[in-house]
């Protein structure tokens, strides 16, 4: 029982992180119909930046943890958005009217480029950061197993929930959100209404990168270590989450993230931690085989 609750908490935390990254995949897919395989590496870049700024701000003598977190979040979100914008501008926009395969190849190239850039400039070694939020709440003890709720886990879940509320309001209630959804449904018609479609696409990439940046900062604070290669596996898992939830569906991405986080956490605890990645990929294969539109996705309709 204790073990089960503990894994539920761990899975929820992990799922929040995957969900945040998955939103970026699903938004970009929704608006231009491509999988941005460099998205996981944008997330990795944000985690590396988090390490840099936590170290830098500590050196500057900032000791208040809330202030530190807010500053790091703001700076890393801003810089990662610039990465998102640049990736779209340099690797995808020039291929906008090309074949479907071209931007996909370009995305893989961008992914390799980002990994190598970080490896060369930052080194290949694992980067540690001091623990910002040590400690945890002891919830209860059952059969000698004490269930812990770490402060970082509370932080991750609270930030994710707050972000999702804000993000949902942005997409469903603002003019930008309407323009974004309109672009998903009919780009030509959206342009005919005076909306700058290229700008909307750029902003979508920036928004996706900003959400990934929050995930990157949270993971850095949670695990305390990051390196140049974390984007690949996290990216593929978040992609699986997006596909499981139904690619293009925003609630689907979050739901998929939660499910993948839970499965990974329970699999590690009850079966084998070595094979937890296998669990995710088996799900990806099964979803693609039996329900390609995902849990909350719309069935693919050929556009005329």
């Amino acid at each position: 029982m204790g073990q089960f609750i503990q894994q539920l908490i761990n899975g929820l935390t992990l799922g929040a992180v995957y969900g945040l990254i998955a939103l970026g995949y699903t938004m970009v897919y929704g608006i231009i119909g491509m999988i941005n395989f460099a998205h996981g590496d944008v997330y990795m870049v944000s985690a590396i930046m988090a390490v840099t700024f936590i170290t830098l701000l500590s050196a500057l003598g900032i000791s208040s943890v809330p202030l530190m977190l807010v500053l790091v979040l703001v700076i890393v979100i801003a810089l990662t958005s610039v990465y998102g914008w640049t990736v779209e501008r340099t690797a995808y926009r020039p291929l906008r009217n090309s074949t479907r395969l071209a931007p996909l190849i370009s995305a893989i190239g961008m992914s390799i480029f980002l990994q190598n850039m970080v490896q060369i400039t930052q080194g290949a070694r694992v980067k540690p950061v001091p623990t910002l939020l040590p400690g945890s709440l002891e919830l209860f003890t059952a059969n000698g197993f004490t269930v812990h709720l770490a402060y970082t886990q509370i932080l991750i879940v609270l930030v994710t929930v707050a972000l999702l509320i804000g993000f949902t309001a942005l997409i469903t209630r603002t003019s930008f959100g309407r323009q974004q959804r309109a672009c998903e449904q009919d780009r030509t018609m959206t342009a005919l209404l005076g909306i700058n479609v290229d700008r909307t696409i750029s902003l979508t990439f920036m928004l996706g990168a900003a959400l990934a940046a929050v995930a990157g900062v949270m993971v850095t604070v949670y695990y305390g270590v990051v390196d140049f290669s974390i984007g690949f596996v996290a990216g593929i898992k978040a992609f699986t989450a997006a596909v499981l939830g139904g690619i293009g569906s925003l609630p689907g991405a979050m739901l998929g993230g939660l499910i993948i986080g839970m499965i990974e956490s329970f699999w590690s605890a009850y079966l084998s931690p070595e094979y937890k990645d296998v669990a995710t990929f088996v799900i990806l294969i099964l979803v693609l085989m039996f329900r390609p539109s995902g849990l909350l996705g719309r069935p693919e309709v050929e556009k005329v």
Binding site: A182, Q185, T188, L192, I195, N196
Partner: protein
Amino acid sequence: MSMLTFAGVHAHYGAIHALRGVDIHVEEGEIVTLIGANGAGKSTLMMTLFGQPRASQGSISYQGRDITRMATHDISRQGIALVPEGRRIFPRMTVLENLQMGATFAKPEHFDGDIKRVFELFPVLEARQAQRAGTLSGGEQQMLAIGRALMGRPTLLLLDEPSLGLAPLYIKLIFRTIEALNKEGMTILLVEQNAHHALKVAHRGYVLQHGGIVLTGTGKELLASPEVRAAYLEGGAEISHA
């Protein structure tokens, strides 16, 4: 100076040479109609105005400005709105959201008055404003597409086959609306296969055939023209080039 001028415009859709040197002009306050058979290039002409596709030769100007190479969204912001072929409403948005999309670049203080006017023209849209647009009937979607275009307060309104596939009752309503809007001062360019209706409401008309203008005149003249009657009103032979 004409409000809208096409001067020797050519356009291609892939390998198809869809417009072959089109010259037309629309004056302020007019209803001008473009008639022609399927595939004559009517819709292409409207889309070329927005740069989709771009004119490969010739020039398009609007209120004295050359808009031939302007970005699509900038052309729209000049005050030109299109009710496109097939309506192209946003099916997964509500009726209200569709209308808000049309008003994206209108002044916010006009919104309440403008939406009230659209609801007066088409009361059914008010009743269904919270409904997903994709669930509307064809006629209701056509009204929504017109309403959406009006929300942008255009000075020139383009309508591409607004009566296509609609029940006679709706066709009547749409044409009545077109006339009413024109009386309020809106300039209208209307593409129609329903030549009889279109020529009756239009001040002037052009007949488009194989991507070129073959005949022009006032609505009355074209209605009376034996060639037009034979080709578009009674169905039959094409007009031989004069």
